[in-house]
Symmetry: C2
Subunit: 594 residues, 2 copies
């Protein structure tokens, strides 16, 4: 439908570019998902054979498929769109900026739907399965007697892997597109500025390959292995970029923007790690001692506090990057931050694979030794899981600003004056959109979970012999509920994201739309950090208690922590990430509107 609208207003090429972008995004998600599913199993089997090294690399490469798919399909897709334009030039039916933006909107839209729809799917199944299965009927997690267990497991794959893949792919594309467009707008005479973003991303992918090579040499014993490899890849990347900048005679001040991107990415990763790990988590776990309410209060407080440092840091980074290359510099910093996406995503994908491999080893009774290996691999992954999210959110702000700058350049703003009441009104209205999207997505999870709860309860009651394991539950029905709910409930948020910039432009004009984008970006990033980190903190506090602290599993503390975790689920996996995509999607739509 959206393709038809684009086709009608912007022509065939733009519509094809949109569909191509959407298709690649889906494809990346699909590849990542299927490789992860297989890697789970093979890693568990390797652990059974006591081959620690093989179990580790199976998991790493399982994640690597996703990481390198994001990087390579991103680069390939973008450069083929580019090539198409160069070959056909003006004959291609649309200007370059429209073609590129359409490509990016395709990727963003799929990512948005993957996060919203996937999030609703997985979390409704998860919450529904847990509430009736674990709490009411007292059967263990992932028990095959639970009718929602298939929907739950399918959801984990869709949400955590495909969702994350499409999400990061979208960031990768939109940061490159905004940098390319700014390169064209601001440096119309110098072609190298238009190509630089792709060059930088290419270098980052090569650096990631080096890093994977290094990983094969290093011993597995070090706990900080994955973190060191991430840092090493960034180091490779900066050295190679420096050489490339010299070789191509690009102003060395632009290299400053690259450095800004790399450094701020690492620091934001570290901040995210702090707030979802270490001392705040221990305090959060302790707050469970006086019940679920104090746990929620503390978690909200951690989530809110965790927004402050990253945003201030990003503001400083923006200032430096701007100093080095104006708004083009800001966009380049975003590209640089995401350049090593292949290795970051590899490690990010590794975590859930190692985790699930452990689950398989447990369920299939592979023995104690296998479980020890998977536990070790799992703990290796836990230290770095937050870093990927930090990169994703950090780059979201930078590339949202990049897209905003491209919009401002496109509509030839002389100024966008906050003393102009239109701009101010636009800003206030824009700042409410992320709140609305978050509200809708969180409620959808709640609604779908309620439906699921009713269905699971019904099956437990009506299917005779189910609890004794003699009859099979109706898995299909639960999958249907999740599927229908996710498709039904993602329509409204999607429409709001697409239509609201159009309405603002129509009724309040282009200045209001400028303010609208800034307001939406500021509040979207804040909400995104708040929800993602708050949710992550609750999750980790529960894990910390399950590791035997404050009474461990089954204690009153654990019960309080489970409530926090359930609240955190839609926050960190549905609403939080959706906001990061939302701000870029709306900016991109504004860009195309102009």
């Amino acid at each position: 439908m959206i393709a038809a609208i684009i086709w009608h207003y912007l022509g065939t090429t733009a519509a094809a570019s949109f569909l191509f972008g959407a298709f690649l995004s889906l494809f990346v998600g699909f590849i990542g998902m299927s490789s992860a599913t297989k890697a789970n199993l093979f890693s568990a089997i390797a652990a059974k054979k006591n081959d620690e090294k093989k179990a580790f690399f199976t998991a790493i490469f399982g994640g690597g498929v996703m990481g390198f798919a994001v990087a390579s399909f991103g680069l390939l897709g973008l450069s083929s769109v580019f090539l198409f334009f160069i070959l056909y030039g003006e004959k291609s039916g649309a200007p370059l900026d429209v073609i590129l933006s359409s490509f990016s909107i395709g990727a963003s839209l799929v990512a948005f739907f993957a996060r919203v729809g996937g999030g609703i799917y997985t979390k409704s199944a998860d919450v529904g399965a847990d509430l009736v299965g674990k709490i009411e009927s007292g059967i263990p997690e992932d028990d095959i007697r639970n009718p929602a267990v298939i929907a739950d497991n399918v959801g984990d794959c869709v949400g955590d892997t495909a969702g994350m893949g499409a999400d990061v792919y979208e960031s990768y594309i939109s940061s490159m597109v905004s940098a390319i467009l700014l390169g064209i707008f601001h440096h119309p005479k110098s072609e190298i500025h238009a190509f630089l973003p792709m060059i930088i991303s290419g270098i980052g992918t090569i650096a990631s390959i080096f890093a994977i090579g290094i990983m094969m040499i290093l011993p597995l014993s070090s706990k900080a292995l994955l973190r060191s490899v991430t840092l090493l890849s960034v180091l490779f990347f900066t050295i190679m970029s420096y050489c490339a900048f010299n070789y191509l005679h690009i102003s060395s001040s632009l290299f400053g923007a690259v450095l800004v991107g790399c450094i701020s990415g690492i620091v934001i990763g570290a901040i995210t790690e702090y707030y979802t790990g270490s001392s705040p988590i221990k305090k959060l776990a302790k707050s469970c001692e006086s019940g679920a309410a104090t746990n929620i209060i503390y978690g909200l407080s951690i989530g809110m506090e965790s927004t402050v440092l990253p945003v201030i840091l990003l503001a400083i980074a923006v200032q430096f990057a701007y100093y080095f290359g104006e708004s083009y510099g800001v966009a380049i910093a975003a590209v640089a931050m995401l350049a090593t996406v292949a290795i970051v995503m590899t490690i990010d994908g590794y975590g859930p694979i190692a985790d699930t491999a452990g689950g398989i080893a447990e369920m299939a009774s592979f023995g104690k030794k296998a479980r020890e290996i998977t536990d070790k691999l799992d703990s290796l992954g836990n230290t770095t899981a937050a870093v990927g999210k930090g990169f994703a959110i950090g780059s979201a702000l930078l590339s949202a600003l990049g897209v905003f700058a491209a919009y401002a350049a496109r509509v030839n703003f002389e100024v966008l004056d906050l003393l102009n009441i239109q701009v101010l009104v636009g800003l206030f209205i824009g700042s409410t959109v992320p709140f609305l999207i978050s509200a809708l997505t969180m409620r959808s999870v709640g609604n779908a979970a309620l439906e699921m709860v009713a269905e699971v309860r019904r099956q437990f009651k009506e299917i005779t012999g189910l609890m004794e394991g003699k009859a099979e539950p109706d898995y299909e029905k639960c999958v249907q509920i999740s599927t229908r709910a996710s498709i039904r409930e993602m329509i409204l948020p999607g429409c709001i994201a697409i239509i609201s910039p159009v309405l603002i432009k129509l009724f309040l004009g282009k200045f209001a739309l400028g303010g609208f984008l800034v307001g939406a970006t500021a509040s979207g990033i804040l909400l995104s950090l708040f929800l993602a980190n708050g949710g992550g903190a609750w999750d980790n506090a529960k894990k910390y208690i399950e590791a035997g602290n404050f009474g461990g599993k089954g204690s009153p503390c654990h019960a309080a922590a489970v409530i926090g975790d359930t609240v955190g689920d839609p926050c960190k996996d549905t609403s939080g990430p959706a906001n990061g995509i939302l701000v870029k999607l709306m900016s991109m739509i504004a860009l195309v509107l102009s």
Copy 2:
């Protein structure tokens, strides 16, 4: 200390004005509190004598003392500062804008501390008393065996009455001050523009007196009594204003701004009422059926959604008010919205008094009939409690914009360009401050509540005969914990509020400070609405269940609702209101800085 800083930099007059503003704010809070405390008791006694009418009016007049204290001391204080300047002119040692701003900062600072400190005090006691008393030990609310009960009741007076009083007093003052300053800056040749805000407020107070008179005639039976009286007072106010505008030959387009203020105030009140009453509450109560987690998810969702309509409505109101009188029109709209503050506060103060009277009737065993009367009076208050909060928050945005416009006028901004990276960086940094303040205040409540829980548990264990009612608990100790915590924990948020604009100005300059104020205003208003309405919704969902729905008191639904209510307490009574004050306080400080 702050007075000393003002004295050092701005002279004796400004410091005296600051202290005068702070003193009046404290005084209003004190008067309101003591009258409310007495009205509680007298109303309960009247209920014991079965004199419903007397019980009602005792409660109304108890609230009325606060309402009219806010209005009269606000007007008197401001006009005496004004008079002082007129009498002594240039000799008074500081320009008028500095004197007025200092007066307003004094009021804001006291209100901020009353909300933060008072909120921490009351909520730590409340949460502590409930968690151990109601949930762990199973003794009823307000039971004298609970050691925290005195701290809890004292806290209710401090937080709900004195806090609300100082809060609204601050809004009242800052809206008038910003309108007066804009009148002087934008219409330097027309004196009437400087006096108009005080004239409007005077008319509003007279309209409030009329409304009280009407209330004495109407029968008590109507459930919508208090709401009708509020609307009636606004109607009186607009008619009288229209006459006054004609009489004083003030441009009738400015009367449009007055209308905008009145109408948007009423509509925002209605929206607040919708989200904290009626159908969202029923759905929220229903979500308790699947436990505390879904209740929290739904409540967060309601809070987030409830920000959207008010902010869009305010944005439209700002646009209209600007159309009628530029930024002066916006400030006048804020003044008009708050003009009938006396009656709004009277009704707002009535609610807690009727509630506490019920508590007293219960504790002192005044009998079933007395309890019936107080219950009826209590339910009369519940329908309108939200309206006052809606007014407070709505006026906060308008007067924050007014102060911001005064700042812009004062530093002679030609433009405040969002394409200027300084402005954008300032905006992003500013938008984090309300998140930080909310995080700190919520955590403080959590910390103090933990301390309280430990103390109450200790007393239950160590004092023999306490549970049997044979020994007295150590109330003093619990009061001490609340007092110490509130004083200790309010220092950091206060410092952040005062120092952050200074730092931004110092390191990033006046343009960044302009962006900072806009960012802080947008995110502050959003968070304030989110937290206040979310908290209100949880509170009312609990009351709805306690009224016998979904299983009533003692059911699993009720337990889930209590957790939601406990989470909501610091949201709606500490962090939410603190943000509304914060944005005006920071803008006022920026104004003085220039």
